[in-house]
Symmetry: C2
Subunit: 191 residues, 2 copies
Amino acid sequence: MARIREFDIDRALDRAMDLFWRKGYAETSLQDLLKELSIGSGSFYAAFGSKEQLYDRCLERYTSLQGGDLRETLDGTADIRTAVRKVLVPMIEADLTDPTRGCLVVSTSTQCGEQPSAAERVTTAVRQVESLLAGALEQAQVRGEISPDKNPRELARFLTTFIQGIRVVGQARTGREFAEDALSVAMRALD
Amino acid sequence: MARIREFDIDRALDRAMDLFWRKGYAETSLQDLLKELSIGSGSFYAAFGSKEQLYDRCLERYTSLQGGDLRETLDGTADIRTAVRKVLVPMIEADLTDPTRGCLVVSTSTQCGEQPSAAERVTTAVRQVESLLAGALEQAQVRGEISPDKNPRELARFLTTFIQGIRVVGQARTGREFAEDALSVAMRALD
DNA sequence: GTAATTATGTATTGACCAATCCAGAAAGGC
DNA sequence: GCCTTTCTGGATTGGTCAATACATAATTAC
């Protein structure tokens, strides 16, 4: 019927997501993207519409991947405290390894406040984290790991907020000890 | 000796800081700044050097003002729990009133990772919050408001991290209840 | 093989960007 | 009044931006 596309859209999305993640929306120019994806502008606009639309798809992909990871960790770990640590420690490590990267949701929330679709995705992402944590905490409470007088939703909202904080101080380069001290206090909220 | 400057540098700095705060670094063009400050480009570059240098001065001003407010609240409030609430509740309220504004330090940390002077100011700002909180917590411990087996520095690092998280979820528009639930759990860390 | 359709990449568009230039204005020294 | 100095703001610079236009290449249907 017609000429077939020479590049893999999903691979391109992954690469674009990674570039936005590293450089941020404003600092990533179209030329940067074309170079990274090794395609021309014709192909770019035919496939993605615009830089803004591509960013939206990348953000969607990011939150979907992050949500999947979170769900997997929470579902696959017996003890809730171990599970929460399994979620948070890799974040601390990631920020130590590469402080420029951070979290795409956090940077979107500060950079794209004027773009409605991005703002909506940020809200959804935070709500998703809240809801996954709340579910895991409820189950842990049923298992008796969490005191019956705790409120799982409150705890989930607290942990969600704390996670965002960890991503910020991670980028602030305050070091491992800082984040680990904060984490050890936060963990006691579950007791 | 020579012609005197027709605008007040400090007033201009305040207005510029406010503009950067509302729109972010990348989204604030030089024309925006010139219009906001009601000056021409000649005066601008004579007074501030460059957009980047101006941003740095605005950030310095912001952290200095925020630090002063924090110190004042902590010093001027007898009970540490009341003091911490007095710090956090207005932040929650501010994010509800104007979710686009957020915190200049948080947005700088995600936007200006490549600019060394900005990154350094972010680190300093976070360290300053940590240190002010640690001082207040130590005093509270001496007064007997905080259990002797608590570590003030750990608590300060925790609260500092949590504050950054509050600023992020504030921009994520998850609503008042979310932030207040998170806060009520966080406060129990002091018990 | 020809027509129809879509992908590709270069060249180009108009807008905007931060920053500089420069001619003139305003101030004080003498 | 004149000279020196600094401020002022419009005009201009060179560069980059996202996006489009278009000629060409590749593919399938028939």
